[in-house]
Symmetry: C2
Subunit: 420 residues, 2 copies
Amino acid sequence: MKIVLQILSLQRHRLSGQIEAFANYTGFMWEIAAEYQAKIVFAEHRYYGESKPFGNKSLEKEYIGYLTSAQALADYADLINYLQKDEIKPRYPVIAFGGSYGGMLAAYIRIKYPHLVAGAIAASAPIHMFPGMTKCDLFNRIVTASFKRNFYCSENIQKSWHLIRSYSSSVNGSEYLHKTLNLCGASNATDINSLIEYLESAYVTLAMVNYPFASSFLTPLPAQPVAVVCQYLNQNLANESLLEGIAKAIDVYANYGKKTKQCVDYKEGDNYQNLDAGGWDFQACTEMVMPVCSTGQNDMFEASPWNFTKYSEDCYKKYNVYPRENMARLEYGGDLLQAASNIVFSYGLLDPWTAGGFISSVSDSVDVILIADAAHHLDLMPSSPDDQSPVKDAREKHKQHISKWIDSFRARNKHVVTYL
Amino acid sequence: MKIVLQILSLQRHRLSGQIEAFANYTGFMWEIAAEYQAKIVFAEHRYYGESKPFGNKSLEKEYIGYLTSAQALADYADLINYLQKDEIKPRYPVIAFGGSYGGMLAAYIRIKYPHLVAGAIAASAPIHMFPGMTKCDLFNRIVTASFKRNFYCSENIQKSWHLIRSYSSSVNGSEYLHKTLNLCGASNATDINSLIEYLESAYVTLAMVNYPFASSFLTPLPAQPVAVVCQYLNQNLANESLLEGIAKAIDVYANYGKKTKQCVDYKEGDNYQNLDAGGWDFQACTEMVMPVCSTGQNDMFEASPWNFTKYSEDCYKKYNVYPRENMARLEYGGDLLQAASNIVFSYGLLDPWTAGGFISSVSDSVDVILIADAAHHLDLMPSSPDDQSPVKDAREKHKQHISKWIDSFRARNKHVVTYL
């Protein structure tokens, strides 16, 4: 039996795609492989990691056009066929695994190529996050909810934006900010919008990887990272004490696990050392339009409405393309899954991407599993002594489904027509 | 409710694609539309009929590359979405109808875009005719079987090839052939291979459209055309009497319904006046590889083995492309339909394309209907007083399926998730 994995992880408006990182962090597959006598294949998505069809030029305007999810699925189909030795009736059941965008692909390959894939475990796959499907502020409300679990934490963060902006508007304040937050670069050249974006993105990441164990998946972080950073923000803070709290919080994000403390490189954005992300920006500018916004009311962020017109214009500037707003829905159907089968969609209730997981239509053989106390595709991660029962139960359920799919694959090829 | 039709008809290595002809000959849809309060849409496949994306140049090497079945399906998806007014939960059930290649497309759009199409009537769709799936001589054996029903008919045709070749090898014989068969062109320029090909193709067409009523679908022909031509070949004939029989038979094919008798334009090939076929040749050279051969033993044709190497080289000469032998299987799965639903595959037992219809795996909601005494997608044709009960029953069954699919479409959108 073969198990084919395609796992890729979405970060907010950014995809992490180098396959080796996923091979390292997808412990669930490694742990169950022997039991199923399975071959494990990690297949890298075209245009990510080392899979660059035009080398270093691949992400340039002129060369990036072959980067689509449909083409990636066709690649996987080709690979699976190759692994099955080009046989007309494949001998081995193939199970697709994926998390985040990879979870979408796992589901989509079962939907589009069910003759090649017997079933799919789609973890934290935001298949219902395209325009018109979910509320654009839901993502950031889920982020906020994790911080709200810790007294004052989300309130302090919510208050910090105005404070940071007001400090940055004076020379002295700017210098204080620069020093307190340990920012890289010259203090008089602080780019306030980049700083705000960096901090927002840090909080989102902390929520996404709010695992019960220390992990270096997206960036090195301690166990329960939201609680860890919130310990510096668990009182009603203001002014300098608030900024100091933010500074300590962000130091965890930027420096955890590092031998020597480094300045906070907020202009670099979120280029996690493990992963590379360039291609997703193009996909988000063509087919994968996922509206995200914040209101500043129901979430702890500055208000930032979803503006498709501006979004489109930015895409045109970068890639000479306009996004097709309904492309992904047309191609994959959102949550209209009545005809689908042999897919498990799992979502962690701590994971902001669960905003794209409100699936109203499930069929006899499409299951949705909601995992309490779980962040972004925790169920695919290596098991840990710190795991709680919800994620353990989810993994048990995954195994039951996989066994059932394999059994029905084996049963199905018994009918033969003979013509003479 | 909307009914979307995509119907195209395959001829042996040739596809007929002008949509108006299909609109005229797909009586079944017109006859049932009112009962379902249905809108009927005939959607022309890109690169066929008037749907030429680059005008007159479309079929040239440089412009033909966008002609694929996957692109055609995406076009239909786009059209359906447009007809549904771009709504996230489509309001109207869409039923796809198609015959022959159109039947394949009808099935494939349900398989690939089940969120857009509630069900598909796929008539005479050779989805199981790709390399390794069926025997390459089965097509011509089914053609032969229709002629065998008439005493001596297939035997006479089988004997005729050698006779025609031997006549053509002398000046006198050639002149006799030319005059007797009423061939166009100069008698001393008879191209024997083109003539043989024309005759073979004529017999194949006669078998394909061996309807119980007169029809001009592919070319004007009387009711029961195989029986009509076989009346001139129903004794054990030889030499000149055999050639005269062939001549009378072919005159039916070439001149039925014409006011003034015309010479047999055998070099023109099968450019049916109604239909245009250029694009199919390219599709057969890329993705739609359907091996057809004859043995001269089990069929009434000259032996002609399937030679993929030569086939590929011919494609390269014409289009600068080599066919991908397993492309269609990879993309559509042949008869591995266990995950498919809401499709009826109907096949007529007189139809040579039924060679691609031996489907061994059907699911709970994929039905195969075999129609005795029916030629190429007869069930989609207008009803006729000459119809026998098998085709009438098939149409009744189609209606039952359509009603069921519509009901389940209407039932399915009742579940709603509300998030606050």
